[in-house]
């Protein structure tokens, strides 16, 4: 019998990569669930091809799923992976540069035949290259496809279907390698294929075969073990950013006692919010409207808002651009509205399947005239939940459109989430009027300058509003210069006033007395946090600040930032938050920009910060 060493690990990064049809997303998700149930912290990120179905076996057709898990806090799916699963040559080719030195590669030999090598763009002699490139790694070449088919020889399935089960072999093997139970996946298989017994059987057979292979083969001499992560007690689930936004919106509606109206036009990477909500319309107070375009979406949301719904739009880049005129109207009418911009790489159509955070300035300044709109950003998949809830709160409490910025990386990434119960969520107050008012004035304001919200059906508050400048109070159209000046100031002041209701800015890592603050917003949180954590271990004088409230800023932000000697602002854009900080506080903040459609690389970021240490 072979001897197997059990190696302890702090954290592991696995990249599952194969052809779009190879089921890598499924394997990744299954391994992730298992990992979460095991009590590790984790973060995942899928990596879809740009095409719906790119030609089989090509680099364009590679679908990937990266999982980072460990026994301590995990903030990102990780830069380079420890383990690469490469189901074919193309998967190998497009991921080999992202494997750590001395990392492990598990390759399905069947995917490296001549045809596949050619499809991947290797020419004959480069076949050697694959092997030589791999000398820095522990390279396991296993004929997974063959083993899969063999393990199913007794089943009456055609070869293609047998072939398709190979992802389960990989999963089984990994379960062995990381000493896992198969139960969660077997359960999944039983549910998923409960209408097709033979396929159900095939999948669990292959899963076990993979596990068994690990146990019996002489190839593997190590197994890996990780401790549970220390996590706050509570109930957990895995969640992606888009699902978290959808949930946050439904719950915000519930806590405000308003129906949710979600108006949208499909666009990558925001569409999944629509898909998720669409499934909930029968059970919850949710109405979805797939409009004819983004203009109709935002305008219908304005109509719904006038009628007393929590009205929300979801979109991305080009769609956001189309909503700007409508948003100006919502500003002028002072109606509540939430716009979720799940950012992707621009300009124009750009790279729809790549991440970026380059719509911040557009969110702040994209409208004609002085049209201030609060902007908040989510910084992790699970944070999308509270961010969406908070965006709705601000919109409803302050009668204003609010822009919520997420991005593709948050949208598709996932992580464990300690979820709250319904009762733990705060109620959201609205300014709804439910009785008749003598001489009703639609622009009558409360002490926070917020106007009241009288909706059709309420007798005695009939009124007309519109996009022309209006007299404060009465709302009657006014071309008076002084009134206009006052209204411009007032609209801005009302939004600035939101700062009174948001938390003060905290330092997420490091001390107020540090020399350097690395200041980010949105999805860079994980990368910056990891980099700063490592630098702190190296005793560098750095701190990490992640800003969620981008407009208005928390009240203490200026004094907080001015305490540091150096401010570095890393962004996945060409420098946007840095502009705002420089302008507002006249701080010589230093931009760090990587615009590669990818999360920031931690190692590179660390290097950059070290320059100032």
């Amino acid at each position: 019998m072979k001897t197997v060493k059990v190696v302890n690990k702090e954290d592991v990064i696995i990249k599952f990569a194969g052809d779009s049809g190879d089921g890598m997303q499924l394997v990744g998700n299954q391994f992730t669930t298992n990992t979460a149930l095991r009590g590790h912290d984790l973060a995942t990120f899928p990596d879809f091809p740009a095409e719906i179905r790119a030609p089989l076996g090509t680099v364009a057709g590679v679908s990937g799923f990266q999982l980072h898990f460990g026994s301590s806090e995990i903030d990102t799916p990780g830069d380079l992976c420890d383990v690469l699963i490469a189901m074919n040559a193309a998967a190998f080719k497009s991921n080999i540069m992202n494997v750590k030195a001395n990392g492990t590669i598990i390759a399905d030999l069947s995917g490296f035949d001549k045809k596949n090598l050619k499809l991947a763009g290797y020419n004959e002699d480069e076949v050697l290259l694959v092997n030589s490139e791999s000398t820095n790694f522990t390279f396991f070449q296993i004929d997974i496809t063959k083993l899969t088919v063999e393990s199913l020889k007794d089943l009456a399935l055609d070869i293609k279907d047998k072939d398709r089960a190979k992802n389960m072999f990989v999963l089984g093997l990994l379960f062995w390698l990381y000493d896992r139970e198969l139960q969660s996946t077997i359960h999944f298989i039983e549910e998923r294929f409960n209408k097709n017994e033979i396929v159900m059987k095939a999948n669990s057979l292959v899963l076990k075969a993979g596990y068994h292979f690990g146990e019996t083969t002489e190839l593997f001499t190590n197994r890996y073990e990780l401790k549970k992560a220390i996590q706050s007690p509570g109930k957990y689930r895995g969640i992606s950013g888009n699902e978290a936004i959808a949930l946050g919106l439904i719950l915000a509606g519930a806590r405000a006692k308003l129906p949710l109206f979600y108006a949208t036009y499909p666009i990558t990477p925001a569409s999944d919010i629509l898909h998720f909500l669409a499934k909930k319309t029968q059970e919850y107070n949710v109405l979805i409207f797939q409009a004819e375009d983004e203009i109709a979406a935002v305008c219908s949301a304005i109509g719904a808002s006038f009628g007393g719904s929590l009205a929300v739009c979801g979109t991305s880049g080009p769609g956001m651009a189309l909503k700007m005129e409508g948003l100006g109207l919502a500003v002028s009418m002072e109606l509540p509205l939430v716009i979720c911009n799940v950012q992707r790489a621009g300009p124009s159509t750009g790279m729809p399947t790549k991440t970026e955070q380059s719509d911040l300035l557009q969110a702040l300044f994209g409208r004609n005239g002085e049209a201030p709109i609060p902007v908040i950003a989510a910084h992790s998949p699970s944070d999308c939940f509270l961010s969406a809830f908070e965006a709705a709160r601000i919109a409803l409490e302050f009668m204003t459109p609010v822009i919520l910025l997420s991005d593709l990386y948050l949208a598709n990434g996932s992580e464990p989430w300690r979820y709250p119960s319904f009762d733990e969520l705060p109620e959201i107050k609205t300014n709804l009027i439910t009785h008749a008012i003598d001489n009703f004035e639609p622009y009558h304001r409360n002490s926070e300058l917020v106007r009241n919200w009288a909706i059709p059906g309420n007798k005695g508050t009939e009124h007309r509003i519109g996009g022309l400048e209006k007299q404060d109070g009465s709302g009657n159209v006014s071309y008076d210069g002084n009134n206009h000046h006052a209204m411009v100031k007032l609209r801005a002041e009302r939004i600035e006033g939101i700062a009174e209701t948001i938390p003060l800015q905290e330092i997420s890592l490091g001390a107020e007395s540090a020399d350097i603050a690395v200041v980010g917003w949105g999805s860079t949180n994980g990368s910056i946090r990891t980099a700063v954590k490592e630098l702190l271990l190296e005793k560098k004088s750095v701190a990490h600040i992640q800003i969620k409230y981008l407009y208005p800023f928390p009240k203490n932000l200026e004094s907080l930032l001015k305490g540091f000697k150096t401010i570095i602002i890393p962004e996945i854009n060409n420098g946007q938050l840095v502009k705002i900080i420089r302008e507002k506080y006249l701080i010589d903040a230093i931009p760090y920009n990587r615009i590669q459609g990818q999360p920031l690389n931690v190692a590179e970021l660390k290097k950059e910060i070290l320059k100032y240490c």
Binding site: K235, P259, Y284, N285, A296, S300, P456, G457, V477
Partner: protein, 334 residues
């Protein structure tokens, strides 16, 4: 929420807001406003349940003058705004007021989609065949060769045929009327209001500043009777100075006939609101100057039932929300 509503008898005055009317004196818009205000007391809907939504244009000032709920939105988007309101609040009585530029130029897409979706709203298209508010450029209903500020050598484009377009978009109610025919106007509006589904009503409206007399042929004493064809369901198509002309269908071809001379009353085309092919033929009159212009309810075919429940009124237990939050797979950390 549902209470038995006692509707106090309202008068047209109740629908007048306190805002001074800012249309040019004599503008057709004012005549239409009057008829809407005259109609509303009789439709059985309390004032607070009525909403007027407009885009931008002279005509789109309309909501300001109505003492109901109202929104003066942005150019071309009244239909889209109304869509969101009506979807979430089917209990409301929603009127869209729009112009030929607002509805058919910048707002064309939302209009055809609203008609396709057959939302139960009333669309009043004030067609003056010109851009009024921006001071006189041609619009998508301006006539070919029309001289305007932006077509000093004559408009080169053909106009839309709004009836054909709305039919093509799948409208379930199509009417045409004109500012100067107060009674007819009110009756067409009433039919539209009663129709369950999207009611598209084209209203010829004179802009006497930038396109005066565009519809004179339909209002002028000497030309009116031979240019206008008032259609009524189940009645034959008759027009002409002394009602001496009729329209007959020769196969699928309409033919103008002298009644008694060429044809008896019984042979005439009997208007059938529900017949889409006939509606198409009527729509095509637009392209041929030999035919009179049909006014009235040209097409009407209810596809749906009135919905009145407000969405989002399910009462949901917090445990159901907790299930949602927890998802299918979850675990506890102790």
């Amino acid at each position: 929420m549902e209470e038995s509503i006692i509707i106090p008898p309202l008068s047209s005055k109740d629908f007048e807001s306190d805002q001074e009317i800012r249309w040019c004196p004599g503008c057709g818009d004012a005549a239409i406003l009057k008829q809407v205000q005259n109609l509303l007391p009789s439709i059985g809907v309390p004032k607070e349940k009525i909403v007027f939504i407009s885009g931008i244009g002279c005509s789109s000032r309309f909501p300001y003058y109505m003492n109901t709920y109202g929104m003066h939105t942005i150019h071309g988007r009244a239909t889209a705004v109304a869509t969101g309101l009506k979807l979430t609040r089917p209990d409301l009585n929603v009127w869209i007021v729009t112009g030929d530029g607002d509805a058919l130029s910048i707002g064309g897409n939302h209009l055809i989609h609203l008609l396709r979706r057959d939302l139960n709203v009333n669309i009043l298209l004030f067609n003056n065949q010109v851009y009024g508010l921006t001071k006189g450029q041609f619009s998508p209903t301006s006539e070919q060769h029309q001289i305007t500020k932006s077509s000093p050598f004559g408009n080169t484009d053909r106009p839309f045929n709004p009836i054909a377009l709305s039919l093509g978009a799948g409208a379930s109610f199509i009417g045409r009327t004109i500012d100067r025919e107060a009674k007819h106007l009110q009756e067409v509006l009433r039919s539209g209001q009663e129709h369950v589904g999207a009611s598209f009503i084209e209203i010829y409206q004179n802009c006497h500043i930038f396109n005066d007399g565009a519809f004179e042929i339909f209002t002028n004493r000497t030309t009116r009777k031979s240019s206008v064809l008032f259609v009524e369901h189940d009645k034959p198509l008759i027009f002409g100075e002394n009602n001496q002309l009729g329209i007959k269908l020769d196969g699928h071809q309409p033919v103008i006939v002298h009644i008694n001379e060429q044809s008896s009353l019984n042979d005439l085309w009997i208007h059938d609101e529900k017949d889409k092919i006939k509606a198409n033929i009527l729509a095509n009159f637009f392209e041929n100057e030999d035919y009179p212009r049909p006014f009235g309810v040209l097409y009407k075919n209810s596809l749906q039932q009135e919905k009145s429940s407000i969405v989002g009124q399910k009462s949901i237990d917090s445990s159901v929300y907790n299930q949602l939050i927890a998802g299918k797979e979850n675990w506890s950390v102790l």
